[in-house]
């Protein structure tokens, strides 16, 4: 579905993504893990058109999409969430969701003047859809709150919720889990699996919670220093020496020394 070929993205002399080559299979939930600063978010940003690559190519279903602007990628069904939540802070949570679907009748200036009826009907449907998503994310009670006032985790949920407002082909999730309550994270995980199975969305998920990755993802790609380090099932990864050294570590050293 997505093929990344020898992708580079440099900041000044620093090679954040340094010749990454990888593939995300259609219908999969691919995990992307790696140490902090491995270049995962940068890779996402390049694929999603937020940053131009220094060199290399990105293909979506065989079509070259390198450097396309985000809104065109969105139109092709490629969605992403941000690691640091990008809510529309002065709009209500519901509006944050309702603005997502593309090509709404009322988004055309002309129509906004002369097509009131049609817009009203569309809005009604959107509202219902948004409320469903809010319900799903357990944040119905803040539907009319300004998004800027949400708690850190709630913003993350909203971020995810936006991708649920449209039919996507592939969704890139950048650390949806960070700061999200584990119980809720499980629910999110379920949702991802359901979207994957029922609607056929492909997912690419960055996450540092190995339980979460383990439950959802196959395969898992490990990045380090801007390149792909390893790929495989979660078990393969967990037992990969290199990965343990660079990323997973061996657990707490001082655990037993605590007073409990």
């Amino acid at each position: 579905m997505i093929r990344v070929e020898n992708l580079h993205r440099h900041f000044g002399g620093f090679r954040a993504v340094d010749g990454a080559t990888l593939e995300i299979a259609k219908g999969s939930i691919t995990g992307l893990v790696g140490p902090n600063g491995a270049g995962k978010s940068t890779l996402f940003n390049v694929i999603a058109g937020a940053l131009p690559p220094t060199s290399g190519k990105v293909y979506l279903d065989g079509e070259d999409i390198t450097g396309l602007p985000p809104h065109e990628l969105f139109a092709k069904g490629l969605l992403r969430t941000f690691q640091i939540a990008h809510e529309f802070s002065s709009m209500t949570v519901r509006e944050n969701l309702m603005m997502v679907p593309p090509a709404q009748t009322g988004e055309n200036l002309w129509n906004s003047w002369f097509q009131r009826g049609k817009i009203a009907r569309e809005e009604e449907a959107l509202r219902r859809k948004a409320d469903e998503v809010l319900e799903f994310l357990t944040i119905t009670h803040v539907a009319d709150e300004k998004a800027g006032n949400l708690s850190g985790g709630q913003k993350k949920l909203l971020e995810l919720g936006r991708t649920m407002m449209v039919d996507a082909k592939i969704v890139f999730l950048d650390e949806v889990g960070a700061g999200v309550n584990r119980t809720l994270l499980n629910t999110i995980g379920d949702a991802i699996i359901r979207l994957n199975q029922e609607k056929g969305y492909t997912f690419c998920v960055i996450e540092h919670d190995m339980d979460f990755i383990g439950r959802l993802c196959d395969p898992v790609i490990v990045m380090a220093e801007g390149k792909k380090l390893a790929e495989g099932t979660i078990e393969e990864i967990k037992s990969n020496e290199q990965v343990i050294e660079a990323y997973l570590g061996t657990g707490l050293k001082n655990k037993d020394q605590v007073g409990v």
Binding site: N36, S41, K156
Partner: protein, 227 residues
């Protein structure tokens, strides 16, 4: 504590939290429960209508945040917790702003703990990856050498290896007699090392106990720790 933001409705409806010297207290709870709000309330960053905030037996409710820093409190907020336009080193230095002594040692310790920061010491903190930023934020608070260190989700977004290091370090810090109050979503690891655990739901205490007790409580496990 009862309080809220500006003129908005109350978000905290009577929360009680206590940390003793050298202890680690962990707050967990669903998103939007008011954990961060409670932390900010302790630090004097919003209105507390009733209740009290005591530090070393002294009521500090009327003190400004920077006065609380001077008293020995350090805080890492959940978001916007670094100076993005300043270099990593300057970020750390700012943590030691109120210190009059030489803080070069502390800085070395921080660099030991987070080697990547040493590498990027002259880079703008805003150009770091999410996890690296988190390390800067914790490092900055450590520079204060506080008596009470308050961390709002310090491990959000850091890789497992760094997270383990971080928890290790927190334990070490606590052993030197510094109290730790932290909010965590990686609740299981956090509660494992916690002396005290609080579960907050909708602005109020729902469960309280030692870390182990809470871990063992099936209801807590199911509702907040993901089974």
């Amino acid at each position: 504590m009862v309080g809220g933001y500006g003129r908005g409705p109350d978000i905290l409806h009577g929360v009680t939290i206590e940390v003793d010297r050298g202890e680690i207290a962990v707050i967990v709870g669903p998103n939007g429960a008011g954990k961060s709000t409670a932390m900010k309330a302790v630090f004097g960053m919003l209105n507390v209508h009733s209740g009290s905030v005591m530090f070393d037996g002294e009521d500090i409710r009327t003190l400004t945040p920077q006065a609380r820093v001077a008293k020995g409190m350090g805080f890492v907020p959940q978001t916007h917790n670094i100076f993005t336009s300043m270099s990593v080193e300057d970020n750390l230095e700012m943590g030691a702003f109120l210190r009059k002594d030489d803080f070069a040692d502390t800085m070395e310790q921080v660099y030991d703990l987070f080697p990547i920061l040493k590498e990027k010491r002259n880079q703008h903190a805003g150009e770091l990856s999410g996890g690296q930023r988190q390390q800067v934020a914790v490092g900055r608070a450590l520079m204060t050498q506080p008596k009470l260190l308050m961390l709002d989700e310090p491990t959000a977004g850091v890789s497992p290896i760094v997270m383990d290091e971080l928890f290790d370090r927190i334990i070490e810090v606590a052993r030197t007699g510094i109290s730790i109050l932290m909010v965590e979503q990686n609740a299981r690891q956090a509660l494992e090392i916690a002396d005290k655990g609080y579960v907050l739901v909708q602005g109020a205490n729902a469960h309280t106990g030692t870390g182990k007790e809470l871990l063992a409580d099936p209801q807590v496990r199911k509702s907040f720790l993901g089974g």
